[in-house]
Symmetry: C2
Subunit: 211 residues, 2 copies
């Protein structure tokens, strides 16, 4: 009842956020094509007509919800850097997996090939999250201008994290702790292999394994 | 002139293949949306009407061309296994990169997010190539039933190969030889990291590094 009363008194920006939050929750648990405008309006306790004052239709609210979720994830990546780099990395991975898990259906739909909701616009949001993840890791290791191979290694590893999380959400065939440790070890292994090709990466490895 | 005379006498299956070959060549050098039915008909030296006796339109010939190209690639993966496993692996990677290079525009369009041609059907063809690549590596190492982490490692590495090849085709910022060696080293590094988690993978590593 409190929720309903609050929602009736909302200012426009607050109302828009309320609709977005309702949509994000629905997309997390059901495939995009099974979430109707009526479902979102009902979850936000508003009329269909009111919904259309804020969003032109399902595509617009979906992209806005994705953008909002991506921004929250990016903000979590930028949490204060404390402790050894490997532990910071572990925290970033844990944040990412927790995020993916709380938006599981949307995460699976978006990143699995042939999704009905994957468009150039959603692709740009996903790319933006990838870029921020790589930039955050580079910033923490103190690398300003990474070499092509160092950048490639980090980009490949983010693809490994994505692909692994996608498989894990669908199959749940590994304990979460194993998944997190394995992803940390994969990055160290990949960066160590790259260090044989390039001095910059060798420096990063020094930084990362230094206590 | 010889080509024209030959093409006029073709049997239906031969004619279909001739159209497919023309389409594959065009898709390799131009984006899908810039290849018209007229372009394909002209390249194959047939009329537009004849084209439509074999294919219902651009989507059908595109998917058929992709399927044909994928099958050729899969056939190349299954080349006789000779020499040390690491050298076999290097050959597989070289085959893959040569293939991607000769179909560069199509490869980029298909694997880059937000492509207009990416559909559930093309996604299934791409998945099929991935599955065959992983199965081929497992077969050569003699692993029958891989553990979840061993399978995950191989799947992640195929994503690394794809992502790296995509970046390389677009930026060409590394010599081909470096790219190939780096990809071999990445697989060894990734599998070695996984070996700490699972005895099956440790056995594979033994097989791979054995001369």
């Amino acid at each position: 009842m409190t929720l309903v009363r609050t929602s009736r008194r909302m200012a426009p920006e607050q109302r828009r956020m309320h609709l977005l939050a309702a949509a994000i929750e629905l997309y997390g648990t059901r495939p995009y094509e099974q979430v109707s405008i009526d479902d979102i309006a009902a979850a936000a306790d508003v009329s269909r007509a009111l919904f259309y004052r804020y969003f032109s239709g399902p595509t617009e609210i979906y992209v806005a919800a994705l953008r909002f979720a991506a921004d929250s994830l990016i903000a979590r990546f930028a949490a204060p850097a404390e402790g050894p780099l490997v532990e910071q990395l572990r925290s970033l991975i844990e944040e990412f997996i927790a995020f993916a898990e709380s938006h599981a259906m949307a995460f699976i739909a978006l990143l699995r090939g042939g999704s009905v909701v994957a468009t150039a616009e959603t692709g740009a949001v996903v790319d933006d999250v990838r870029r921020h993840a790589v930039a955050e890791i580079l910033a923490r290791t103190g690398v300003g201008q990474p070499s092509p191979l160092a950048l490639l290694t980090l980009n490949c590893w983010t693809a490994v994290v994505e692909g692994t999380t996608l498989t894990w959400l669908q199959e749940r065939n590994l304990p979460r702790e194993v998944l997190v440790n394995w992803l940390v070890d994969q990055l160290l292994a990949m960066v160590t292999a790259t260090a044989n090709y390039d001095a910059d990466t060798a420096t990063v490895i020094d930084t990362v394994v230094r206590p």
